[in-house]
Amino acid sequence: MLVEFALYHAWLVPLLPALAFGVIVFLTRPWPKLSAIVAVGSMAVACFFATLAAYGVFTNHEFVEKPLVYATRWFSLGLPGMPEVQIDVGVQLDPTSAMMLFMVSFIATFIFLYSIGYMEGDPGFSVFFSYLSLFGASMLLLVISSNLLQMFVAWGLVGLCSYLLIGFYSHKISAREAAKKAFVTCRVADFGLLLGLLALQIVFGTLNLTELSEKIAHFEEYTTFGMLTLIAVLVFIGPIGKSGQFPLHVWLPDAMEGPTPVSALIHAATMVVAGVYLVGRTLFLFHEVPSAMQLVAVTGGFTALFAATIAITQREIKRILAYSTVSQLGYMMLALGVGSLTASMFHLWTHAFFKALMFLGAGSVLHALHHKADVWEMGGLYKKMPITTWTFVIGGLAIAGIPPFAGFWSKDEILVATLSEGHYVLFAVGAFTAFLTAFYMWRMIFLAFFGEEKPENHPHESPWTMTVPLVVLAVGALGAGWVGTPWHNVWAEWIFFGHPHHGPVNYGAMLLSIVLAAAGIYLAYMLYLKDAKKKRARRLAEWFGPVYRMLYNKYYIDELYLWFNHALVDGTARLMYLFDIYVVDGIVNGIGGFAKLSGDGLRVFQSGRLQNYALIFFLGVLAVAVLMAFTGPSAASLVLGGVK
């Protein structure tokens, strides 16, 4: 009964936080506590509904083949009977969206709760919660969208919230610039996505997901293969930006300027996976175009490796986590690119738990150390902050891929999928990245939480509003992967594209990934914990000086973009402006000037001397008289202006 209600009123889930946003902005802003209660309460209720809806979906196998869709007209153009464009808004519930709906609302609830402790005493406390609520609403709307334009709207709104929240400490110039960078970078990507949507609308006449999936399966009736390839590539540009894939990943590490709960919620667990989710949603499109799939897979694999190499050298705790997010998103894209929606969504699901956990843990550390972010200046925190440390360790084990933690199962699924599709190079890349991941994550953990205590730090454990979410998410990081073990893969029975595939259990790949993870952790242990003075680590950095510097400076991509932006775009702009005020305006003023000039010429005759005027007058009369005398009156009357 209640489940039925939740299934058919799933739009309530985004609506509740949206209402909370309105209430906080217009009513409860002066009372921080009340605002927090409104935000957390509405999100908790939304989570409750989402859970019911997810329960409803996951108990009814019909929804796998035939998603539950209900929609209403948003606007239409053309004759009412047969509109040229009609855009619907609605809800599409299938296992994928139900999983996302539950995951987003669940994690959001706990991160909202965590924020109460983290943001305590901040002058913008209420505003922060209003933004968070708006984000929750937009993200949930994105998840349940039945129409690509609706999804694009939500896509834009989550981008806005990301912008507002990254720039939350807007008095800091770095935060301000990071927010702007995030927005503009995503805007570039949105441009591609928008073009893709336009092309889809023009070619197929609809943006409804279900209709598109039916029509694209028979795309020959509508368009050519080349056009479809173009569309797929254009659509993929959007996720490249939103999900921080190379080369538009630059905004994500900078986004860590926002408060840590924001990094956890938006830039790790939910918003950044929107790109992955979008590709997953439109996999029917990519599936038709092998070259586009190849592009997705290569982009994903390359990003995974690329970001992992950068993460090795970074010093700030949140920055390391950010690059690891980029790298993990690369994994998800890789999985999509090899055609495995199952593996991609599975990794998305487990990643949400352990990455949110690690960000919240990092937030707890920053909270305790008064925002000292450099891991080299931390150390030995495990004594004073046990809960934070041990939950963080669980997260570290999960991301490194140690069984039975969540990350192991999903990463294994991806690697197996890559291998079974015959992408050996990408498999090697994925496996090597797994090794790097284990190494840099544990480098961070050893440096920050273990080793010697630094006397200048006075850490303390965080309040319960912060530790409870940590514990809950740690449970998730431990157990979220058990739904998809290779022996009994419940996950693959529900979430798949095309048909569920049950490959044989690949013990070789499993063993390889465990060995690589263990090797990574061991290496980190040798370099950063056992060797208390870190001499070896330093020597390594010196040996590979140029490489180290290049990695530390993120391959100088930021500098390249900055140059492009400032020299090229701004330069053109200045040129255009000068053109405008000197050439275009010059012509306009020139026309005005011409009138003035002719006036200047003619006014010489206005000498103001009476006798000159009289002379001219007389000469004129004389001329007429002479004319009359020699040619007769008709010609003279012509001179006088046709007067007869």
Partner: protein, 104 residues
Amino acid sequence: MLAISLTHYVVLSALLFSIGLFGVLTKRNAVAVLICIELMLNAVNINLVAFSKYVTPTDFIGQIFSIFVITVAAAEVGVGLAIIIAIYRNRLSVNLDDFDWLKW
């Protein structure tokens, strides 16, 4: 004895008009210009009366018209002198070359 014909009057009138015009165009003194204007007007009057006498001797249109011209000329001189006096009071000059304030 040479009869005085219309030609004589017209020549006299033309001479008078030309003298007046020359004065108007060349004299620097505003009063002299006014006097010259009177000369021109009188040249016109002579023309009017002469043509009336020789061309249409029965009706007196030319004479009547010249009386109008004399009247108007008187009024005009009155106004003109008044303006000149007013300017003189301001500028202490009746030299037309100084009166170019209307220029652009």
